[in-house]
Structures are given as C-alpha cells and as structure tokens.
C-alpha cells in the first residue's frame, strides 16, 4: 500500500507524521523545540579563534597592502574632490557623450547637477573615489579568476563554489574580519567592495570564454597561435561582450557595497550621510541623500552598460567643447561660484519634506500605526510564534483555548479530507502540514521536523545527495547554536517570499496579459533593481518607524522584482505555435492561460522564486539596521562588537540557509524543465 504511493506523497506523509509526533511530544520533551545548550558546540569561539589566528598571521601583509592602497585612494579622492566641480561635471558629461551621445550626456549632466544642488557633492565624490579604486581591483581579480577557471577545468568546480559562497555570504559578514585585519578606515570598505564585486566579473569572463565558438578556437590554433596568443588575441576579444556585461554588474555591486560599508563609519561618504540622517530621523535630508545614491547608481549603470554596445562615432569636438566650457566655468568658479560644500539649494526642500512628513504622520499616524499593528498581530506574530502564543486576550481580545485548537485542526482535517476525496492527496497532506506549522509558529518549529522536511524536499526534488546535504547544513546550524536566529531568518524571509510570490505573481500575470501594465511595471522594476539595497530603508522608516514590519516591507520591495520579471517572462514567452494549437482546439483565453501558458512557464517562475529567495536573504542583513532579531541581526551585532567568531558563524549560517533554499528550488525547477523536455 505505502509502496504504491508516489514518492512525493510518501515523503509528504512521512513529514506530516514526524511533525505530528514532534508536536505531541514537544510539551514533554523540551529538547525537541530547543536544542540543548549542553549539546551545542562552541563553534563561534572556535571560528573566532581560527579567524583571529589567521588575521594575526597575515596582518602585517594586509596592513602593508592597505597602506599601499591608501595612495591611489587618496589620489582618486583628491582628483574628484579638489578638482573644481564644473570641470568634474564637464568631464563626466563628456564621457556620457562619448558613450551614448546627446541623450546620455544630458542625463548625466542633469544627474550631476542634482548631486551638486543636493549639497552632498563632497560625500558623493568620496563614494565615487572609493568605487574608482575598488572596481579596477575587482575587475582584475575577476578576470584572472575567470581565466584560471576556464583554462584549468579541474579548478572550475571549486572556483564556482567559491564564487557562490562569496556572493551568498551576507555583505556585513565580510566587514568584521576585514575590520580586524585592517583597522578602521575607508580601506575596509574598499577591500570589502572589491571582494564582493569580483565574482560577477569572474562568472561572466568564464561564461564568455566558454561561449566562444569552438571553431574560432580551432581556427586560432590552426593559424599557428600558441596558447597565450590564442587566449589574448582571439578568445578574450571574442568574449569581450560578455565581459563588459560582467563589468557592469561588478561596478554596480561595488557601488552597493561601498555604500553598505558606511555602517562601520569613520569617513564622510554618502552612505554615512544616509545613515546619519536616518538616525536623526531627518528624513528630508536622508531622502535627498538616498536620491543622490540612486542618481549615481542609475548613471553608473547606464554608462557602464553602454560599454557593451557598439558605439556610433560621436563628435570629438563636443568632448573638447564640454571640457573647455568646464574649464572656463572652473576659472570663473574661483571668483564667482560658491564652493561645492556651500551649495544647499535643496535645504529648504528637505525642511519642507520634514514638516510635511511630520504633518502627515500627525494626521495619519493612527492609520499608519493601525496598519502596522494589524499586520503584526494578525499576520506576523502568528506566523512567528504560532497561533497558541499569538492569540492572547491583550491583542486579539480572546485567548487560545483547546476548543479552538480542536475546531482549527478539525476544519483543516475536513478540508484535507475533501481534497483527498477529490484525488488531491498531496495537496491534502501539505495543507495539514501547513496547518500544523501555523499552529506552532515558524520560530518554534521542532528541529527534527524541520530537518526531516528539508531532507524530504531534497529527496523528492533530486535524490539522496541533495537530501543529505540539506540535512547536514541545517544540522550544522543547529549544533553551532544558531538555530533560533536562523529560524527567525526563515520566518522573516519566508513571510516576505510568500508575500512576494502572491503579489509578484499577480503583477507578473497582469503584465503578461496586458502590455499596458507591463509598460508601467517594467521601468519600476528596472529602478528597483538598480537602487542599492540601503536606500530601500528610507521610505519604510519614514512611515513605519523601526521594527519588524518595516524590515518586512523593505525586503518585499526589493525581493518582489524577480518574481514579477520571471512570471511575466515565463508567461509571455510561450511559443506562438502552442498558443495557436490551443486556439485551434477551441480554447478560450482563460484556458490558454491555465492549460498552456502556466504549465509552460512553471520552470521559469520557479527560477524567479529562487531569485526572490536569494534577494530576500541578501536584504535580510541590511534590514538588520532597522530592527530585526534574526541571523542578520547577529551579523550586524558582531560587526559592532568586533566579534569575528559570531560574525563569521552567523554569516556562514545565513549562507547555508540561502544555499539550501536555492538548491531545493533549483532542483524542482530542473525537474519541471526536464518534464517539459526543455
């Protein structure tokens, strides 16, 4: 009987049974819910000791490197800050002209003028100078790594794993060991951003080289090129388009990380300006500083993505003209124009924003609070600590009684029975499991159940190997003593992913159905993806203050984009032939959507879900700045206390969670693709 069931149903059934047993035993066996402290390995201390030992070992070398780097950094800052701003603006505008013609030049000019008028010119230029130094480092490291991975197939797999790790480890986790290694100062941000932004370059270099037509490679050999000539004269130039795409991604990552690195403080850059004004609740200014970041991000993104496209020859005369005009203005500036730091045209605007915001919150504070409290009480808390703990008279007006529990599970069982009767056994089992999870709360789930469920998912999606890896990684988090914050991370990101899936899926569906909607949604998505994570915090803080709800909103705002994009992409890329075949069979548009487009789009949508999960995890750490209690918060705390062990361990735990989620979803997507023969 049991054997005759499909693997998915068998796994779901076993998971449900394990869950039920745990739930029944939990009141008597405390260790089911809380991993006993006596069994916890002092992993954080070990890691701390190991990292500290390593840091001490390479400290002299690192400090010497930092000292060396401080020179180009000084020069870059000197050039950008000490050069009269009209000249800087003229030079960057000329670059825009050269890369993209009049439209680009105008855009760049407008953007830079905004930065100048905002009063954050000096801070902005400090940030840019850091990017200017870190990007070449990252590009060089990425290029070398990519080439090595390409040329030595034996190293390819380990290098790819390393790149994965470098990108999943939360950004703050880099900073703690670097702080120890290099001491306070802008060099930490510089190195962190170089490390963080090297992987996209390495990946794209490898991808580009792998995509070079084998015939071109053979042609180079047959024409008598030796292996170096083949690489430098033929393969790298042939891969250049992909490498430029990588360059664009690298530069954006570097900018994002430089801004994040402001949390360690100590130098006056634009990230610090945002942080400082946010802490002072001076949202007018923090909004303006945030917009300066956005302007930089968009400008740099557009400029560097133009690199990958062929250029029409834009007149050189204009470049010289622009530079000349800049020089003339610069000379005049010495006499007439105010210094950059004295310009504060937008100061009144910030004032007015602040007072408007004050008024708004005064008038609508009750509404905002109601929104926040209701979301907390009726959605977030139950998910976090379970119905039985969340439903208390203070909040709900009544308490959780055993009669309610009976009714709750009775209703779930009835619904599940109906589903099973309809033949949807898997759905019935999953519904029961979900009911149990909501009753217990994600943060209070018994660990044997979580481990078993992850293993079962891995087994169904791909097989024993994935199941074993998932259980091992989660087990590691457990014995490291980081289970509680880890489950809080799962709860927060899981809730966000759930919201993003429903909302993003709906928006994606609408966009696929109506091109008009897509025309509006698309630029918003573009913008949301270009904006550095940091900036997302400003608007949610403005309206909802510090707390979990604000964190959730920030995460959702960032993580919803891939869900929308992939859903739209999946649903609208069904081959025309399939749609025509369905039409010819007499399907209406609803049937075409549910019977043809949706199944065909399923693997793509799953990949979108995967991206959404990863995005949510990367935002989790940033969200720690505005009050969360999860792993991200541990990482952030570790940074503040200089606790390398905790920082690295919590960072690694986050990376492991992200890795498990990533592989599980990817395995399901892969299975779906294979089933469709794609």
């Amino acid at each position: 009987m049991f054997r005759s069931l499909s693997p998915a149903i068998r796994a779901a059934l076993l998971t449900l049974i394990v869950g039920m047993v745990c739930m029944l035993l939990a009141p008597y066996l405390g260790w089911l819910q809380k991993w006993p402290a006596s069994m916890t390995l002092p992993a954080t201390e070990w890691i701390g000791a190991a990292v500290t030992w390593l840091v001490e070992l390479i400290k002299p070398l690192a400090r010497w490197g930092a000292w060396l780097l401080s020179y180009p950094m000084g020069w870059a800052a000197f050039i950008l800050i000490e050069t009269p701003y009209p000249l800087v603006i003229a030079a960057i505008t000329a670059l825009g002209w050269h890369l993209g013609g009049p439209g680009m030049a105008l855009g760049v000019l407008a953007g830079l003028c905004f930065v100048l008028f905002s009063g954050y010119w000096v801070q902005g230029m400090t940030t840019l100078s850091l990017v200017m130094v870190s990007v070449p480092l990252a590009l060089f490291a990425g290029l070398v790594t990519g080439i090595v991975a390409y040329r030595m197939p034996a190293l390819r797999r380990p290098i790819q794993v390393m790149l994965d790790v470098m990108q999943t480890v939360p950004t703050f986790a880099y900073l703690t060991p670097l702080l120890l290694l290099l001491g306070f100062g802008p060099v930490v941000g510089l190195i962190a951003s170089a490390i963080y932004s090297a992987p996209p370059m390495a990946r794209n270099v490898l991808l580009g080289l792998q995509r070079v037509d084998p015939e071109i490679r053979d042609a180079a050999l047959m024409n008598g090129a030796n292996s170096w000539q083949q690489l430098i004269l033929v393969e790298l130039p042939a891969a250049s388009r992909q490498m430029l795409v990588g360059m664009n991604q690298s530069i954006m990552a570097a900018l994002s990380m430089v801004i994040i690195a402001a949390v360690i403080g100590g130098f006056d850059d634009i990230g610090w300006a945002v942080l400082l004004t946010m802490r002072k609740a001076d949202f007018g200014n923090s909004l303006i500083a945030g917009m300066v970041i956005v302007v930089f991000a968009i400008m740099i993104d557009r400029l560097s993505s133009r690199l990958a496209e062929p250029r029409g020859g834009h007149s050189r005369k204009v470049i010289w003209g622009l530079l000349g005009a800049g020089a003339v203005m610069a000379v005049l500036a010495a006499r007439w124009l105010p210094a950059a730091s004295e310009i504060d045209i937008f100061a009144p605007l910030a004032e007015r924003t602040n007072s408007a915001l004050g008024q708004f919150t005064a008038n609508h504070g009750a509404t905002l609070n109601a929104i926040r409290n209701n979301a907390m009480i009726y959605l977030l808390l139950p998910l976090r600590i379970g119905l039985d703990h969340a439903i208390v008279p203070v909040m709900w007006g009544f308490g959780w009684t055993s009669a309610m529990a009976l009714g709750y599970f009775g209703a779930a069982a009835a619904l599940a029975g109906w589903l099973a009767w309809r033949g949807q056994i898997l759905a019935a089992l999953m519904l029961l499991t979900a009911a149990g999870v909501v009753k217990l709360g994600i943060a209070h789930l018994p660990w044997p159940f979580v481990l078993f469920a992850a293993g079962a998912l891995g087994w169904v999606a791909s097989g024993w190997r994935l199941a074993l890896t998932a259980v091992t990684l989660l087990g590691l988090i457990l014995i490291m003593g980081l289970w509680e914050p880890a489950m809080l991370s799962v709860y927060l990101s899981g809730t966000a992913v759930l919201i993003c899936t429903v909302l993003g899926g709906a928006i994606g569906l609408l966009s696929a159905v109506s091109p008009a909607v897509w025309r509006v949604v698309r630029p918003v998505c573009d913008l949301l993806q270009t904006v550095p994570l940091f900036v997302f915090l400003i608007p949610v803080l403005m309206f909802f203050q510090i707390g979990e709800f604000s964190a959730l909103l920030a995460i959702c705002a960032y993580a919803i984009v891939p869900m929308i994009r992939y859903t739209h992409q999946g649903l609208s890329s069904t081959p025309e032939e399939l749609v025509e075949a369905a039409l010819a069979s007499g399907a209406n548009s609803w049937a075409i959507m549910t019977e043809v487009r949706a199944p065909y789009a399923a693997p793509t949508i799953l990949l979108g879900l995967n991206q959404t999960i990863l995005y949510a995890f990367s935002m989790l750490v940033i969200a720690a700045l505005i009050g969360t209690t999860d792993l991200g918060q541990q990482v952030y705390l570790a940074l503040g206390q200089g606790d390398v062990g905790l920082g690295v361990a919590a960072g690694a735990a986050m990376a492991m969670l992200a890795w498990v989620a990533d592989r599980l979803v990817q395995a399901f997507a892969e299975e779906k693709r294979a089933a469709l023969g794609l």
Binding site: E215, D218, A219, A220, M222, N223, G224, A238
Partner: protein, 356 residues
C-alpha cells in the same frame, strides 16, 4: 578492413595507418585492452568499447593522400569524418595509429614542432567559417601571417593579394558580421591560404551556405585548386559535391572507412548497399566517364561516321553523341590515339539504376 588502392604516383603527402580516435576515460588503455581481447578485429573491438561506455569515433583508418590530390572524406553526420580531419590536423590527439605528413609523424610531434607546422604548412577552412569577430576581413586573413612574425605592412599586402584571389577586393576593412555567408567563407578560404600552405584542410566548407552560393564557391574552389594544386582534404556530407570536386573519395560510416575510390568507382562500382544508397539518386551519366566502361579490343576499323568519343567524356554526353548507332564506337584518348571501344548499349545500361 578496406584496403586502399595504391595512391597515384609520388610520395604520399598524408599517410594514415590504423588510426583510432576513441573518446572516454582511459581511452588508450581501454583500446589496447579491447584490441587484445578481440585479437585486433576492428568491428568486435568497436563493439566492446561501446559496451564499456566509450565512443570509438574513428576506427582503424588507413589511407594515403598523394601530393596535389583533392581527397574527399564523405559521410553522414556522426560518421566520424569531422573527428578524423581534426585528428589529422591534431586539433585533438589521436588515440592510436600513425599519421605522417610529408613523412613526419604528426601524432608524436611536440608542441613547438606542431606550432611550426601550423604556421608554415597547414591551412584550414571551417564549416561555420571560424572568423574572428573582432577583427576586420584583412586582419582575419593576416592573422596567420602575424603568427609567423611578419611585419604589419607586408602582411596587409599579402592579405589583399589573397583576398583578390577570392574576389573580395574592396571589402578588406569590413567586419565579418557585415558580410554574407558566402563572403564570410571566402574570407575563411583566403585566411587558410594566406601562408601558402602545403596541406589544405576543408571541414564541410560549403555546408552552411545556400545551394546557389554553394555551387558558385565549389566552382571557385576548383579554379583555385587548378591554379595552386594544393594537397587537400575536403570533408562533406553531400555526394554530388564530393563527386564534383574529388580526385578520390573515401566514404565513412560509423567511424569506419567503407570505400575509397575515384568518383567513377563510387558511382559505378559501389562496394555495398550503403554506398549504393548514397549514389542512388546521382545522375550517373553526369559523373562517370566513358573510360570506365570502354573495352580494349585487338583492332577496330575506322568508321565513316565516327562520333568522336573521348575517354574523359561523361557517359551522358557520349550517349548523346552516338544515340543512333548500334556498332561499337571507338574512343579517342588524350594523345589522339584510339584508347578503346564502347558499345552504345553498354553506355545505356551503365545508366540504368542498379536493381535492389
């Protein structure tokens, strides 16, 4: 195993002896083991290798290519023809056997020697052209010269010279993407000829082109070949292309050489059904020549209405000339002497399809 007919006079420009190309882990050791177990039988060895998860793409191939000959290797996709030419050019390392180019064993040549050979002696044309997308037409053609160490001005001059040979004068500063497929392959041909190589490898050079362009380039290939007389190894899957340009054709199937012979041989005396199937739709009269079916009697009186058949005429044109005759007709050789006789009825029966 198919025995090669002795190659036409002169030392072989390329000589392959028992060449194997096996893909898989430990290919060499597995091949030796399998050969030992089967006592050297090719088919049994290949079977054994496949059972063990290896791919014997080229099996025990032996042939010679003479100086100045156009040697066509023909077969369907997956027959191993592309693998064979790549093994000969040593773009991949052969598993076993011996390949000599002008007497020199190329499978054991070290990297430096190989580089020198490629820089001076070998030229290759690729199916999808293999043009470097970031270089202009002239830079592409000059690339092998650059590898030789030639100066910029000299190599540009030489590139223009070769481009003129393939009628691409005036396009030297275009990029490959700005050219049509036919033009791109002309660039490929020009590049392969830039160093004036001794050996010319062409890997399905015209397969990616439209039929009209293909025919045009075939004619150009023939005219270039008539001028330069390169020793060429030409890969194709198109029997009419093979018959049109080959001095000799080698037909491959599943990694094995099935038949080697002149176009006439292949058309008129296919060794088995596989080859017969290939040539089934070939208009034989257009490809086979009178000399392959004429006989050499003791004597023959001159005829008053001698239609003037020549030995190198195609059967079609010979038949057209003596359609109304019933007597044996004399065939004239290139030297102006009678080379043999042919009965018009034999000409006609050579054209009837083989019964299957």
């Amino acid at each position: 195993m198919i025995q090669d007919r002795p190659a036409p006079a002169g030392a072989p420009a390329i000589s392959c002896r028992g060449v194997w190309q096996v893909f898989g882990v430990n290919a060499r050791a597995s091949l030796d083991l399998a050969l030992g177990e089967t006592g050297g039988d090719t088919a049994a060895t290949a079977r054994l290798l496949r059972q063990r998860g290896l791919i014997p793409a080229v099996q025990d191939i032996t042939f010679d290519v003479a100086e100045g000959e156009v040697f066509v290797i023909m077969g369907l996709s997956g027959s191993g023809k592309s693998t064979l030419i790549r093994t000969i050019a040593r773009l991949i390392d052969g598993t076993a056997g011996e390949i000599r180019i002008a007497g020199e064993d190329i499978l054991t040549a070290d990297a430096r020697r190989l580089l020198a050979l490629r820089r001076d002696k070998l030229g290759m044309v690729f199916q999808h052209f293999g043009l470097f997308p970031h270089m202009t037409v002239a830079e592409n053609v000059a690339f092998p010269l650059k590898m030789q160490g030639m100066g910029p001005e000299q190599r540009r001059a030489r590139a223009l010279e070769v481009l003129e040979l393939v009628s691409l004068k005036g396009r030297e500063d275009s990029f490959p993407r700005q050219l049509s497929g036919g033009q791109q392959q002309r660039v490929g041909i020009a590049r392969s000829l830039a160093v004036n190589p001794d050996l010319w490898f062409l890997d399905e050079p015209f397969s990616a082109l439209d039929p009209l362009i293909r025919r045009q380039l075939q004619d150009e290939f023939l005219s270039i070949q008539a001028d330069l007389g390169k020793t060429s190894v030409f890969i194709t899957h198109d029997i009419s292309e093979a018959l049109k340009i080959a001095d000799r054709i080698a037909i491959m199937r599943d990694g094995v050489l099935v038949q080697i012979g002149t176009p006439d041989d292949i058309v008129l005396n296919p060794v088995n059904d596989y080859v017969r199937e290939f040539t089934r739709d070939v208009p034989k009269g257009r490809h086979a020549h009178v000399e392959t079916i004429m006989t050499l009697p003791a004597s023959l009186p001159r005829m008053p209405d001698d239609p003037g058949l020549r030995a190198n005429m195609t059967i079609d044109s010979a038949l057209a000339a003596c359609m109304s005759l019933y007597q044996p007709v004399p065939v004239w050789g290139a030297n102006g002497e009678i080379a043999g006789v042919v009965k018009p009825s034999d000409l006609a029966s050579a054209l009837t399809p083989d019964e299957l």
